[in-house]
Symmetry: C2
Subunit: 110 residues, 2 copies
DNA sequence: TCATCCCTTTACTTTTAAGTAAGTGCATTA
DNA sequence: TAATGCACTTACTTAAAAGTAAAGGGATGA
């Protein structure tokens, strides 16, 4: 499982690597959401960054983008079937991250 | 396990987030290594970046730094006990990343 | 007629990360 | 005397990521 010269950990980190992508993924794991919903749920994200990161995730096949041709337009973002393969990974990462945050909080002077 | 407002996935990505940290972790999972070993094993890393990322990982408690007061100096970097908690996480991330790379290779025009 | 809503895109600026090159210290070897 | 090896650090430059502000398009409601 472990080779010397390649490090696929980088791949995952690259896919989820932007400043906002983890949060977007997290919210879409919960349920599909519209652009505006995400904008409201992610404090301080700019429309540009949200749009850009959603397009990145779409390009990787992780997120599906469904456009309903209504007026005003409605666009729904959801995890693709492939994107759902990230859920267990995200959960493991989440668990470690939560523990790490707790650890930092408990012993800030180490 | 899933909360609305926090996303600990970000924590992990932040800890492993630099350009070289995943590779460093990967190599240290395999075995402890010296500065020069890492430099040779990671193509194109500069001493500055290697040093900086090692210090980051040390600060997070993931990597132990052992100095042997010999001349020339010998410094060994190894995974700390805490750092070893990252191994299963890295393996899950690695597995997903490998699959993702394969997928990309198989259908580059999706 | 004018503003409104939603989902963007574009042009420009600022911030952050990474790269480059050189230098440090000290003991051993040539 | 000078060069070598190891493990860095510092100062400076460049590249990448993110932030800001504004505009667009097209139907609907006031």
């Amino acid at each position: 499982m472990i080779h010397q010269r390649e490090c696929p950990v980088e791949t995952l980190i690259h896919v989820l690597g932007g400043k906002w992508k983890p949060m977007i993924l997290w919210l879409l794991i919960e349920s599909s959401k519209r652009f505006n919903d995400l904008e409201k749920l992610i404090p301080d994200v700019s429309q540009k960054m949200l749009s850009q990161h959603l397009r990145d995730l779409e390009r990787e096949g992780i997120v599906d983008r469904t456009v309903y041709p209504t007026v005003p337009p409605k666009v729904e973002y959801s995890l693709s079937e492939y994107g759902k393969t990230l859920i267990p990974v995200a959960e493991v990462m989440c668990a470690w991250g939560e523990n790490h945050n707790k650890r930092k909080y408990e012993e800030p002077a180490s």
